[in-house]
């Protein structure tokens, strides 16, 4: 498993943990203070979500450090895979952004209250699709025929 795959796997695991913890947090908060109050706090939560996206991306870069500096760890095939995954990620980001805008902005326009929600959702979708596309292109389990 190479550096790019490790980064993608780290991203997906980190997002799974964040989503599960986030769902538990929201459920607990809704049980304690009521769903209406939680909904009002949603933009604040989504700002944290944006920060979490950045944190996951930065930490995955640091975590998947080079293990053997003398060996090539990123070559032309990895570059092609990364570029394709990036295209998929950008498409997902734009798609989710437009869909959420359409969903959240009725005819009178988008309320600034929802902007962090929009950006957070788009960033998360882009990151998830990017990571998934990397793992899919490398093959089942990412081992690509290695024994």
């Amino acid at each position: 498993m190479n550096r790019l795959q490790k980064m993608a796997r780290f991203n997906l695991i980190a997002w799974a943990v964040i989503l599960v913890l986030g769902a538990v947090f929201v459920a607990l908060a809704a049980a304690n203070v009521g769903a209406g109050d939680v909904a009002r706090q949603l933009p604040g939560v989504m700002k944290m979500w944006l920060l979490a996206t950045l944190a996951v991306m930065v930490s995955s870069e640091c975590w998947a450090k080079r293990q053997q500096p003398s060996r090539v760890e990123f070559d032309e095939r990895d570059r092609i895979i990364q570029i394709r995954a990036l295209h998929c990620g950008i498409l997902a980001l734009l798609g989710v952004f437009l869909w959420m805008t359409w969903l959240l902005a009725p005819s009178e326009g988008l309320v600034s209250f929802w902007i962090p929600v929009l950006l957070g959702s788009a960033a998360m979708a882009g990151n998830l699709v990017y990571s998934t596309a990397i793992l899919i292109q490398y093959g089942r389990g990412g081992t690509d025929g290695e024994k």
Binding site: N2, R71, V72, E73, F74, D75, E76, R77, D78, Y138, D144, G145, E146
Partner: protein, 78 residues
């Protein structure tokens, strides 16, 4: 996945060259072992510079390592 139109004899040549490992070939061609695995399996068609580097690692001309087949059929192995 469909077989590539570019066939190769890398696996055979590795064994003919003192059972060279995939990692040794990868180091010589300046790519990752996964890329060598993908090329050997016909899952990835290398760029022209990489194809030349792989051929140079075996000390052979390009056409003795890689062959083009229009319909993706395997070339006759000698």
């Amino acid at each position: 996945m469909a077989k590539s139109e570019i066939q190769n004899r890398i696996r055979r040549l590795r064994f003919d060259h003192g059972e060279m490992t995939q990692q040794q070939l990868a180091d010589k061609a300046r790519v990752t072992r996964q890329t060598i695995i993908a090329i050997e399996a016909g899952k990835y068609a290398p760029s022209l510079p990489l194809a030349f580097r792989i051929a140079a690692a075996f000390g052979l001309p390009l056409e003795e390592v890689f062959q083009y087949t229009a319909n993706g059929d395997a070339p006759p192995d000698d």
